[in-house]
C-alpha cells in the first residue's frame, strides 16, 4: 500500500508541490554547501565523519525496515538526519562516534516510535545529547580550522567565554575572552578592508573577530562554522516555504532580546549591551534554529503553539548559555521545549468557526 501513488478517484485531484520526501531531500541539499565548507575548514577527516554519519544512518534505516516492514529510504529522512548529525560533531571525534550515533539515532530514537512522523524528540538532538553524555572527551575534540597539522584546539569560542566567566577573569567582552584563551584571530586583514571600504562611509566600525565568526574561522563542530552558508540556505527554505518562518523568527527574537538586555551584565558591562552578534554566530545556534527546531514532527501543530515554542526555546537558550556549565545550550533548550509540545497542542488549539 505504501508504494502506490496517490492515484485516487476521490478528490482532491491535484496536490501542492510540497511533499514530505521532496521537503527532506531539498533541506538536505541546502545543507551540502555548509557541509563542504566544514570539510574545507577541517580537512578530509571532517568528510570521513560526515560520510560515516550518513552511511550508518542509512544502514540503520535499512535494518529498521527489515524489522518494521515500513518506511523508505526515499523519504530522505535518514540522509537528512545523518548529515545533520555529522555536521554537529567535532572534527576531531574518532570514527566510531558517528557510527554509534547514526545507528542509535535510527534504531533507538526512530525505532521506538516506529515511523517517520511519530518520534517525539528530534533524533539528531537526542543522539547528540547521548553522545555528549557518554563520551564527553571525544565530543569536545576541537581542531583549529585551516590547520595543516590538524592542531588541537582547547575550546570553542563559547566554551572560552564560559571558562573566563567561571574563572572570574573579568574579560570585558566575549571576543576578548576568546583571544585571551588562545584562539588565534586571523581576520584583521578582512575586517580592516571591510571597515575602510564599506562600513566607515556608513559610520560603522566592525570590531575584529566577527568576520572570523561569520566565516567559521574558529574551532567548532563541522557544520557550525558556516554561518553565511546556513543563512543563505535558510533564505531559500523560507522563501520556498519548506520551513516555517514562525520558529526561526520568534526563537531569534526572544534569544537576542534577552542577550541584548542582560548579556552584558556578566562581563561587568551595563544593561542593553549584550553581544547579540557573537551569540548567534557561535555554537550550533544557526544550525539548530533553521534545521532542527523547524522540524514539524517535534514542534506544535498550530501557529500560536509554534510561536510559544519558539519564544520558550529562545528564553531557555539564553539561560543555558549564560548560567549553565555547558558552553552551548541551543540543542538542550529545544529538547526541553519539545517536552511541552503535547501541552502546547492542547493549549493552542484552533477554534472552530460556527
Amino acid at each position: 500500500m505504501a508504494e502506490s501513488l496517490s492515484r485516487t478517484l476521490a478528490p482532491p485531484q491535484v496536490f501542492s508541490d510540497v511533499s514530505t520526501a521532496r521537503q527532506n531531500w531539498t533541506i538536505a541539499l541546502t545543507l551540502v554547501p555548509a557541509a563542504l565548507w566544514g570539510m574545507s575548514l577541517y580537512s578530509l577527516k571532517a568528510g570521513i565523519i560526515l560520510a560515516l554519519a550518513i552511511g550508518s544512518s542509512i544502514l540503520g534505516d535499512f535494518l529498521l525496515r527489515k524489522i518494521h516492514k515500513q518506511g523508505t529510504l526515499k523519504d530522505g529522512s535518514a540522509v537528512l538526519w545523518g548529515l545533520l548529525l555529522g555536521m554537529s560533531l567535532p572534527p576531531g571525534a574518532p570514527g566510531f562516534i558517528p557510527v554509534v550515533g547514526g545507528l542509535f539515532m535510527i534504531l533507538v530514537v526512530k525505532g521506538i516510535s516506529g515511523n517517520l512522523g511519530s518520534y517525539w524528540v528530534h533524533p539528531v538532538l537526542l543522539t547528540r545529547t547521548f553522545l555528549a553524555l557518554s563520551w564527553p572527551g571525544f565530543m569536545s575534540a576541537w581542531r583549529l580550522p585551516f590547520s595543516p597539522t590538524d592542531a588541537v584546539a582547547g575550546s570553542t569560542p563559547l566554551m572560552a567565554v564560559k571558562d573566563s566567566l567561571l574563572a572570574g577573569t573579568g574579560s570585558s567582552t566575549p571576543l576578548t575572552a576568546i583571544t585571551s584563551h588562545g584562539i588565534p584571530r586571523t581576520d584583521s586583514a578582512l575586517t580592516d578592508w571591510l571597515n575602510t571600504h564599506i562600513l566607515t562611509p556608513m559610520n560603522i566600525t566592525l570590531p575584529g573577530g566577527y568576520s572570523d565568526m561569520f566565516l567559521g574561522n574558529f574551532p567548532g563542530a563541522i557544520g557550525e562554522g558556516s554561518a553565511f552558508l546556513l543563512l543563505a540556505a535558510s533564505v531559500f527554505l523560507l522563501g520556498r516555504r519548506l520551513i516555517r518562518w514562525e520558529i526561526p523568527l520568534f526563537f531569534f527574537l526572544s534569544f537576542s532580546t534577552l542577550t541584548w538586555v542582560f548579556g552584558g551584565l556578566p562581563f561587568g558591562l551595563p544593561w542593553f549591551s549584550g553581544d547579540v552578534l557573537f551569540q548567534i554566530l557561535s555554537g550550533s545556534f544557526l544550525l539548530i534554529l533553521f534545521f532542527v527546531a523547524t522540524d514539524p514532527v517535534t514542534t506544535p501543530m498550530t501557529r500560536q503553539g509554534r510561536i510559544f515554542f519558539a519564544l520558550g526555546a529562545g528564553v531557555l537558550t539564553f539561560f543555558l548559555r549564560f548560567f549553565s556549565s555547558a558552553g552551548d545550550g541551543t540543542g538542550t533548550a529545544v529538547l526541553l521545549m519539545t517536552l511541552m509540545v503535547p501541552l502546547l497542542d492542547q493549549g493552542f488549539r484552533k477554534r472552530k468557526i460556527v
Partner: protein
Amino acid sequence: MTNRTIQGGIFVEDFYELTQGKTCENTSFPPLAILPLVQGNHNAGRWAVQTGDEVQEEQVLTHGTSDGGVPLHAPVPGYVEAIKDIQLPGGQECSAVFLRFQGAFARTGKKSESRAWESLSPAELLKRIHDKGVLVSPTPLDSLKALPQVKTIDTLVVNSMEPEPYVTLGLNLLEEFAPRVQEAVKILQKIYGPGKLIFTADQKTLGPIQTLSQNFAQVQVKNLPNKYPLALKPILVRVLQLEESRSLILDIPSLLALWEAVVLEKPCIERYVLVSGDSARHPGIYRVRLGMPIAQFLEDAGGFSSPPEKIVLGGPFRGYTIEDLSSPITKDTSAILVFSKRVVNHARPAPCIRCGECIDVCPVGIQPVSLFKSIKAGAWEEAREEGLEDCIECGLCGFTCPSRIPLLEAFKSAKAAHEKEAVHG
C-alpha cells in the same frame, strides 16, 4: 460594507488565460444518449417511457416528483434502446435510458423566437421553469436543486465568482451572454419580488458585473478576493452575512438555463461545459446535449495536447477522476479538466509529519489532522467534537498535505457512515 474575508483558504490562480476570449462552440449529437434518472443528485422521478418507445426532441422522459423533482427531456429524437442501471462517476448506481438518435429534430435548425414573459404571474413563471427541467446551483460545481417556492426568498445573490481554479465558466458566459443574464435576474425579481440583490465578483468578473449592475436600481456589488473556497455557499453565506434560509444564491449557468426555459420555452436538454487544464488541446466553452458520452465530447472539444494523467469531472479540489469515459454529460456537468503529471503532483503517501499545513488552510477552523486521528480510532464522539459536521468538504486539507493523506475522502465516508448510523438507530 464590512470587508470580511475568511480565515484559512488559499489564494489561487484562476487560469482564465486558457479560456479567455473563447466563444461558446457547439458539439455534435450523441449517436447513443445515456440519460441517468439522477441528474446531479437530483431525482427526476419515474420513467415516462419504455424500451422501444419512439421519442421526439424535447419530449418529457420522466414524471417529476411531488416534492419538486423536475422532469428530464429527450436531448435528441430517436427511440429508447434500453433502460438499465449504470454507475455514475461519483460511484453511485442508477437507472438510465439509452436513447438511440434517429429521425428529425422538432426545434434544432429552426429560428428561435423570444416569448413575452412579463405578463406571467410568479407562479406561472416558476411552473414553466420547473416543467422545463431547469435545476440551479450556487456555483457551477455544486449540487443542483429546483428553484424554491415563492415567498421564502428575500435576498437574491448572483454568484459570478470562480468556484475553483480553471472553472471560469461563469466569467466566460457572462462576457458572451450578459443581456440574457440581465433578463434572467429580472425574471427572478418578478418571481420573488423586489428584495435585496447582491452581485458577487472576483478580480476578473468585477468589470462585467459592474456593467451589468448598472441596469438595476438597488444592487450591491461585493468584490471578493480570489481566495478558495470563498465562492462556495457555506463560506459565502458567512462572508456576506446572509440568512441562509431566505437567500437564493445562483451562478451564471443557472441563470442562462432559466432564461432559455422562460424566454425560449426551451427545456433543459443542453448545457455549457468548460474544458480546460494543461493537457486540453482546445480549452474553451462548449454547448453539449445531455447524454453525450464524455469520450465523444472530449474528441469534439479537440482532444489532448499531451498525454493526460487525469481527466477530472468538476474542479481540481472537489472533482472526481473519470475512469469510464463512456459516462454521460448530465445536468450538473460544468467542467472537464485534463491535467498532466506536472499539475497533479503525485507523491508517495507518507506518515503524518504534524506539519499543521491542513490546520492553516482549513476555512472553518477544524484541525483536520486531529479529526482524521479520531476517525481512524473509531471515536465518533470525539470526531464530532473535532468538527466532522462542520467540514464543508472544500478539499484544501488533502491538497496541501505533504504526506498525501486522503483527508477529505476519510471525512466524507465518515460523514456517510455517521448518517447511516443515525438513520438505523
